[in-house]
């Protein structure tokens, strides 16, 4: 039985239960940003290509070496108030899509995972009755960073969403591991977002991360000005960002599109790859691949200036198999 079925049955049977209140019509989100925006931060970085951060032209390649693309989505809504605690219905999914010789995207075999659960702090609302009805529950208590505010409904929601984000990242890591185990020479994976910490030494070979948001600053002053004014088709030299507690990666900025008359971040992406000599050698080539991925456009996605089309394809695929808002509303209308 799916979680939606179980939830529908549970709500129907507990209609008269004073501990339960059904919440209908709350907005859903594919990303956490709406409810839990990333916080701006500043981190250190060390330039590893040359002596200083510089602009470098990217050679025009006209082709791309990426064969696989990984992305995930998450959806959430406050579904219930259970014993006075907001219970988040969360759905997370991730997939790897493969580009064939015909340049069409398809799901790579066995490369899709999803998870659905009710997320709330078990400390403030007992999960047993929900679990008895077959509802998968996840405790968001471990995410609480401010114990004295743990029962603040706003924090409860934020921690639950962070827990869902954590679930999504775990699914992505699972798929990444699976891909690393099954991929062959000549296959390259592009991951939407930062590269996760690799559990295997040297395991992130032929994997590239593409970061579209720039909440974390690595350079200041003249270097920051220079990278924010990168012309179209140019990259910075490679640097190693500081990632506390994680294995090191190499990174560089790349301007995918002309930002004249646009925001500074228009068309600006940050690329991550394994921290080794091969990355230093291939930074230009990988950048060329990413420039080739500018077509087709990802419109009408709002982030089309930085999002490459295969990543949007992953999201489209995942959305097509995700439970719909209409369905959830209907199931809660009992």
């Amino acid at each position: 039985m799916s979680l939606a079925d179980a939830l529908q049955r549970f709500v129907r049977e507990h209609r008269e239960d004073p501990a339960l209140r059904v919440v209908r019509g709350t907005p859903q989100s594919d990303e956490m940003t709406e409810l839990a925006p990333a916080t701006p931060a500043t981190h250190q970085a060390r330039v590893v290509e040359g002596a200083a951060l510089e602009q470098k032209p990217v050679p025009a390649l006209g082709g791309s070496g990426f064969t696989h693309f990984l992305d995930g989505i998450q959806r959430s809504r406050v579904a219930l108030i259970w014993h006075g605690v907001p219970v988040i219905w969360g759905y997370a999914a991730a997939c790897v899509r493969e580009r064939g010789a015909d340049r069409l995207m398809r799901l790579a075999p066995g490369m899709c995972e999803s998870r659905e659960a009710l997320i709330f702090p078990f400390a403030f609302a007992p999960p047993e009755e929900l679990q008895r009805w077959g509802l998968a529950c996840v405790d968001s208590s471990p995410m609480a960073r401010v114990p004295e505010d743990a029962d603040n409904p706003a924090y409860i929601r934020q921690y639950s969403l962070e827990m869902l984000g954590d679930l999504r990242r775990r699914l992505e890591r699972t798929l990444l591991k699976r891909w690393l185990e099954s991929s062959g020479e000549g296959q390259w994976l592009l991951v939407d977002g930062e590269l996760p910490d690799s559990e295997q030494e040297g395991g992130l070979r032929r994997v590239v991360g593409l970061i579209k948001s720039h909440q974390t600053r690595y350079f200041a002053g003249e270097e920051q000005r220079m990278l924010l004014e990168l012309p179209e088709g140019q990259r910075t030299t490679v640097f190693q960002p500081h990632r506390h507690g994680y294995r090191p990666v190499y990174s560089w900025y790349l301007r995918l599109r002309d930002s004249s008359g646009q925001d500074q971040a228009f068309g600006l992406v940050r690329v991550e790859a394994r921290a080794d000599e091969e990355t230093l050698r291939m930074a230009g080539e990988i950048s060329g691949w990413l420039l080739a991925e500018r077509t087709p456009l990802s419109l009408p996605d709002a982030r089309w200036d930085r999002m490459i089309y295969p990543v949007r394809d992953c999201e489209q695929y995942l959305r097509s198999i995700a439970p719909t808002a209409v369905e959830m509303d209907a199931r809660l209308q009992v």
Binding site: G63, S64, R99, D102, R103, L104, M105, A292, E293, R294, T295, P296, L297, L299, P300, Y309, P310, D313, Q316
Partner: protein, 675 residues
Amino acid sequence: MISEQEAGSPGAQSRPRLAQVGRVVATEPRPNTAYEFHFWTAPGSPVGIGTLVVVLAENVEVYGVVVEGWSYTDVASAMHDYIGLDGDPAMEAMTRRPEIRCYTAAVLRREPEEPVQPVPGGPVYLADDLCVRRALRMDAYADRTGVAVGAYQNGELLAPVYLDADFLLGPEAAHVTLTGVSGLATKTSTIEFLLQSIFAARDDVACVCFNVKGHDMLFLDFPAEAEPGSPLEERYRDLGITPLTEADRTLYDVLGVPCRAFENVEYYAPFREDGFNLNTLRTNPEVMGNVHPLAWGLQDIMEFAEVVLSRDDVDAKADALIQYINQKVIGAKDGYNIGDGKAAIYVRTFADLEEWFRRVFDYMEAGDSGRGMEQYRSHHYQTLRKVHNRLTNLITRYRGLLTPREERHDLPWGDFKPRTIYVVDIASMDQQGQDLVVTRVVSKLREHLERKALGVDRCIVVVDELNKYAPSDGPETNLKRTLLDISERGRYIGLVLFSAQQFRSQVHKRVVGNCGTSIYGRMDMDELATPGYQVLTRAEREKLATLSKGQLMVRHPHFSQAIFVKFPRPNVLRGSDGVRLFPPAEPVELEEAIFREFSRMDATVQRNQVREALADADRDAALEAFNKVRLRGSSEPVSDFQKFIRKKAKLDEPDPVPRAFGAPPPVSGDDPFAD
């Protein structure tokens, strides 16, 4: 019911597994209904407008025909694509956008029939031969009353499509209307193939075709290609006459129709003005064996006075006089006594009628003590003069068709043979003449069929350019009324109308509405824009506008939607090839015409025999004698011809008993022309 297992399991039964091509999809903007559903397919699926599909869902199977298709990608605006490729159409994007192909299918049939519910989601399969039978409900009649109209084709599949004879030839429904642009030979070819198919399935049907233009239907008894080893083989080859293709033969095999020309065809054509050469393009001596004159006399057309006389001519007084002549004068058993003291007159021909009028005028002018009579039997002198002018003028107006003499050549009323086509070639006649021929022939067919005295149970009448004879607007004519009557009542008596026209919208709606079966070839876009075609989807209309030769869209009472089929090129010689193979003979002199005709009757006839027989004969008498011999046939044509000439010239013994003018001569064993 086909189970889902049956459709998908290759080893479970002998039936080949159905090919799945898509899945039913329903969205809020485009929901499925009980009569229409949508499905998507893989890009390379052999699905198109007109494809038959079957949806197999739990406990229900739904058959449909694709009526609309659309595809789209995820590009929201053409501008996005343009910008993305830097305005360079030759540029290839790294990733191809997925392109979805969706189709709308109209429901043809569902099993079980009840309850009628929206089409459920499920896999969509291409219809196979058995599915085609079920989808079109042919399983109920194909083996009993099926008449092949063409084959449904999808890739390698060629599935015969049958019409139900009970709905094609009556009594449940009847009539076929064919619409298509001119010049592609679709209409004529369709009719020819359909007739071949009907004759293959039924042995109680004959057909009358009116050849209204050119040489379309003048060589139905010759095949499209000569039999190997036949005398015509080399001539066919020399003229480059296009043979049938292997695909045509395959279609014949699939449809179970013998691939051969019509075996029994009789041609009828009026005379030219000279009264003995036939006014047709089939005058080559090699093919004249089954070409007959069509010549009618006074009695044949007087009952169609309102057809041959214009409405302005026939006022109430004239009409009364015509009725009087019809009832009291023509064919009066004991002759008509004018009252002038002379012998009774027998009026059977235009010549007799002319004599009757002359005597009546003489009588009136001499009457009332020489002052002249104003009225004759309540008919005014001026009315008599007017009707006399109009009736005697008919011979001139319909020269070649109407004969002033007694001999008449007509279709074999009462002796129609099954599986025989009677082609009436009226292509060279003017509109008025064509109207008269079609009206009279159709009326006679109806009359004989009503009495069950035609010789066959059913007769198909093929009328091309129906929009000319039964237009949606214009005056009410006798012909139009006749055609309306056939379309409304014909199915009960076995009179079936096969009509063809370029513009169906211009045909009287009652005629079109009564046609049980409608067939469409390639259509003109202007015609398709008329309201009558709005029941078709835009895709169907556009497909109709681009149909190739041999493709048709068929609507039939058993088919709840229009079906596209292919039919083979009929195995008959095209008219254009026919006139190259058998060039029409130039009109000949009377002597030559008589020699050729008599030679066919008796191979021993010599030219000098004919010349001698004609030597001293009056031309009119010779013509009359020739036509009589031709009409009745003879094993000794020259001898019979001479006897008639002598009789006409009164060279034989006079009749023992004096006869009234025009009275039939007494029967004599020696007289080859005695009635």
